[in-house]
């Protein structure tokens, strides 16, 4: 199989969660493209649906959730939403790597990293297990760790930063070229954060990957991502090249987010918190714009009509106010 960075097209993806109040959408009608070989950052507050979107890339939305509509087309692989059973299992790990938060214990506490690596190899029918170990050591060495020592360690013997690098190694060791990182720097100290981000960038370039990074930290995205998608209430409200979006945010939510970041210099009061609270699964509006409750540009149409995601040059924005401005 041709192993190179795959492009990914997410189209009309909707994920619903079963609740006592019926099935509620956590991700609603999301369409986006991960261009081959790029890093895409997904930014959003807790409950915005960004992790659910990440799970969807592996068709791994956990019950009581399910993908109710849409597709995730991955080059050389197909529409993973239609995958089932063994086909899905083999796609995970071998084609799509998933990296957990460092604070999450993504390793079996009773087995050494090396033994779990062998379990992974056996699961995917790797015949050359020595080669796999060699590859793992190389990857770990590449990330500044002593491979032999790490493979011989248990999870509790590793620091947060080391665990994160082990997670990245396990996501890449089977030669996956699409990698999803869920909050890769959360719960790490600043120095380790910087190291991990540098590693992500370098490994991404060296191995030719297509990478998706989920984060609530705009700083992380600014640092590594080529493209940026902002999620709110299960919708992507704005997406585009990172630099453009950060320099000239169009959607009122993106603007609010960026305005809320405190600067290193100047008055701390320049940072303005966005008023109100993000919606939860049950409070997200059923019709109209999901952001209108907190929006300063709210109009009558926002109450009834869900704004469509409309391309504006390199950017895709879902906002009635922006549309009005463009047409004016």
């Amino acid at each position: 199989m041709a192993k190179q960075a795959p492009g990914v097209r997410i189209d009309g993806l909707t994920v619903v969660y079963k609740t006592p109040a019926g099935e509620l959408p956590a991700v609603r009608d999301v369409s986006m493209e991960l261009a081959a070989g790029t890093i895409t950052g997904i930014v959003g507050e807790s409950g915005s649906g960004k992790s659910t979107l990440a799970f969807s890339l592996l068709n791994a939305v956990q019950p009581p959730g399910r993908i109710s509509a849409g597709s995730v087309e991955i080059d050389d692989l197909g529409n993973v939403v239609s995958f089932q059973g063994e086909q899905l299992r083999k796609a995970r790990g071998a084609h799509i790597g998933y990296v957990f938060q460092a604070a999450q214990n993504s390793l079996n506490p009773l087995k050494t990293v090396g033994k779990q690596l062998l379990d992974l190899g056996r699961s995917h029918g790797v015949e050359d297990l020595r080669g796999l170990v060699r590859e793992a050591k190389e990857l770990l060495g590449r990330m500044g760790l002593d491979g032999a020592r790490v493979l011989d360690s248990h999870q509790h013997e590793l620091s947060g930063g080391m665990r994160q690098r082990v997670g990245i190694m396990l996501a890449l060791v089977l030669n996956a070229h699409l990698v999803v990182l869920d909050e890769p720097t959360t719960a790490l100290d600043m120095i380790t954060q910087a190291t991990i981000l540098r590693i992500i960038r370098e490994v991404h370039a060296e191995r030719g990957l297509t990478t998706m990074i989920i984060t609530h930290d705009i700083g992380v995205v600014a640092e590594v991502a080529d493209r940026l998608a902002v999620m709110y209430g299960g919708r992507i409200v704005e997406q585009g090249p990172t630099r453009e979006v950060l320099a000239d945010p169009q959607h009122p939510y993106t603007r609010g987010l960026i305005r809320a970041i405190p600067r290193l210099t100047g008055d701390i009061n320049q940072a303005q918190a966005l008023p109100g609270r993000p919606p939860t699964l049950t409070t997200v509006p059923k019709e109209g714009c999901v952001f209108r409750e907190r929006c300063s540009l709210r109009m009558d149409v926002c109450d009834t009509v869900d704004p469509e995601a409309i391309p504006h040059g390199d950017r895709i924005i879902a906002c009635h106010a922006v549309k009005v401005k463009e047409h004016a």
């Binding site: 998933y98 214990n105 993504s106 390793l107 079996n108 087995k111 699961s123 248990h154 509790h156």
Partner: protein, 335 residues
């Protein structure tokens, strides 16, 4: 390996001190229980119409000795005897060393309880995994309910129920005594077969009464592990189901070994009701009898035996953990 050796040495030292303390306490308690078998015998004879002198004489002949000397002297004598594994001589069975009485009774307790415990552990743990995985389905419900139900029924009710069903209504199993006296004790088919046949109901009672606890404990343990991140991580890495199942089982069973070790430690205490109902001359019955008859030496010996077995079980459990749980091995707390 040195870690294990060091741990073992520490445990043995602590265990020894604990045994000493318990021996001391039980010695003084037992000696201060009101009532005295020798005096009781004496009074019984007097009541029966014997003259006081004759009664004193008869009692002396019967027991071979009259307790004499101060408490301190008795204590030193008892403890130095302990160091030589000499637990003294039974008061109610003149001339029989306590150790012999205990080992004789132990064989009727250890095997059935051990068998019952291990059987229920095995079945309970395996079904517990299914109860956890199928917890939203009918099978899971049924298993959990069976666990709660059996856990809630007192042992003696269960024992009598089994007797009623399998010995009275459908008389296919014996329920009286550990073996048929027709057979010559020894390694012959008849004797062993009779032993096994007699053991069925007691073992089944032990197993059924313990099974509920195991299945419920394993179920909740598995449910906890299922929610752990590393299981989801293994799934997202495309690990095989069989491997993930092993990850779950091994992590979930860990906390159960503590309970298993403790219940094995307590097994020498015997199960009084079950031994009574099935007429098994085990340690539980022996202990109760020795208390009713104020057999100091036997009481002290039985208490000590139970203490020692609990301590030993704890040591074994801890050493076992150092083997199976790497977090314990390195002496660090898992984060």
């Amino acid at each position: 390996m040195t870690v294990i050796a060091r741990r073992l040495a520490g445990h043995l030292a602590r265990g020894f001190v604990m045994i000493l303390v318990v021996a001391t306490i039980s010695f003084f308690i037992v000696n201060n229980i009101p009532g005295d078998p020798v005096a009781a015998r004496y009074e019984k004879l007097v009541e029966g119409g014997m003259s006081p002198e004759a009664a004193m004489q008869a009692t002396k002949v019967m027991y071979g000795f009259l307790p004499s000397g101060s408490m301190g002297e008795q204590y030193v004598d008892y403890m130095s005897g302990l160091l030589r594994f000499d637990l003294g001589v039974s008061v109610t069975r003149p001339g029989t060393p306590v150790l012999d009485v205990l080992t004789d009774a132990a064989k009727w307790t250890v095997l059935p309880v051990l068998l019952g415990t291990l059987l229920s552990f095995l079945v309970g743990v395996i079904l517990g995994v299914y109860a956890a995985i199928k917890r939203t389905g009918k099978l899971g419900d049924a298993l959990a309910i069976s666990g709660s139900l059996l856990h809630g029924i007192p042992q003696y009710v269960l024992a009598m129920l089994l007797v009623v069903i399998f010995a009275t209504l459908i008389p296919i199993l014996p329920h009286d005594g550990p073996v048929d006296i027709l057979f010559e004790p020894g390694f012959n088919a008849g004797y062993l077969g009779s032993l096994a046949e007699h053991a069925v109901l007691p073992v089944a009672t032990y197993a059924l009464s313990a099974y509920g606890g195991w299945i419920l404990a394993m179920k909740s343990s598995v449910v906890t592990v299922l929610g752990d991140d590393f299981i989801l991580a293994a799934e997202l890495r495309g690990m095989k189901r069989s491997i993930i199942f092993r990850y779950i089982a091994r992590n979930a069973i860990l906390p159960l070994f503590t309970i298993l070790a403790l219940s094995l430690g307590l097994l020498l205490g015997g199960a009084v009701f079950i031994e009574k109902i099935f007429n098994y001359p085990g340690l539980g019955l022996l202990l109760i009898d020795s208390i009713t008859l104020r057999d100091y030496a036997l009481m002290g010996g039985a208490f000590l035996l139970i203490t020692v077995s609990v301590i030993v079980a704890n040591i074994v459990a801890d050493l076992f953990y150092t083997v199976i749980d790497p977090r314990v091995r390195s002496g660090e707390e898992a984060s």
